[in-house]
Subunit: 189 residues, 2 copies
């Protein structure tokens, strides 16, 4: 059974990007520390295991705000799996020749199509705004939080103004990664 899984690196104080984000400073001040467990290389241990997991997913769902600044990952995030982009705007021309990329503005439809396309594999959910929409709509099955031992002080929070009331989670895995990262996996109840 396929699950939709958010993979997200977060500081202990809840930030997924540092302050002063801009096109030239996409992770915000200090935000690169959130990704040193996997960039430039996840090594060969626990961090590699987690990296390989999300690179084995069978479909990707991302918001336009994640997809477009990343250059659409050249049209292929990994392994030729389909990419569903949530956007109120039509697909830009530069994506026209990418058969894997599907624009749409209906989260229910995008998640259903992604799960179908993924078959038995999981679906990688990408980006904070999309994760928040998916949580609010009950479309997110699991969260894999890469908890980073840093206090960023300010920046962009993962869990902000969710407007979803309260949600009980089930902790289903804890992995002690290298470089101080703790990979915490939860199922949304």
């Amino acid at each position: 059974m396929s699950s939709t899984v958010l993979y997200m690196s977060m500081s202990l104080d809840g930030f997924i990007a540092g302050p002063n984000e801009s096109p030239d400073n996409g992770l915000g001040d200090g935000g690169y520390r959130l990704h040193t467990w996997v960039l430039p290389d996840p090594g060969e241990g626990v961090n590699r295991q987690v990296h390989d997991e999300f690179m084995a997913t069978g479909a990707v769902i991302a918001g336009r705000g994640t997809f477009e600044p990343a250059g659409g990952w050249g049209g292929d995030h990994h392994g030729g799996v389909p990419i569903y982009v949530l956007s109120r705007h039509p697909a830009p021309d530069w994506t026209a020749d990418w058969p894997l990329v599907h624009y749409g503005n209906d989260p229910d439809a995008a998640f259903a199509e992604a799960k179908k396309a993924a078959g038995d594999a999981n679906v990688l959910v990408h980006g904070a705004a999309t994760a928040q929409r998916a949580l609010a709509a009950g479309l997110l099955d699991e969260l894999e939080i890469h908890l980073i031992p840093v206090l960023l002080g300010s920046g962009r929070r993962l869990f902000e103004n969710l407007g979803i009331g309260q949600r009980q989670l089930e902790r289903i895995r804890v992995l002690h990664g290298e470089d101080g990262v703790t990979h915490l996996r939860f199922r949304v109840r």
Copy 2:
């Protein structure tokens, strides 16, 4: 060597109390879930180990906002160790007969006295506001976060407006507690 240690239960979305805190609702809506690992009883496993650790500390530092609503713990938090209360106000009359209780408004002095009193034992730091002041002043040595698998959505955050810039932490322990709690220990660099 004695360390000052904040022990704090926090939801995955960073809250230490739910919304609508009031004298009759001291933990906020849903906030009791943050404490079920230790209340009414920590059991006999990992959660007991962590409970016993903070009950073996050699001194307590708390803010007035934690100490007074708790009735000053009857004048003895645990084991007859001294309690240092940070407050801009003088000690209230009802604490006058409690020899363990020391009011003051100087964090540096309170932390120094608490460490001296604790000897080789650690110092228990109690309360979010005190933890924030201590972090800002560089007086907090370690954080033990009891991470609870729940999203509270709103309420009171532990890490809010710290005004401390960024701080690197060192993950020094991860314990998988019962009831879904993950005990994460960090040293402040």
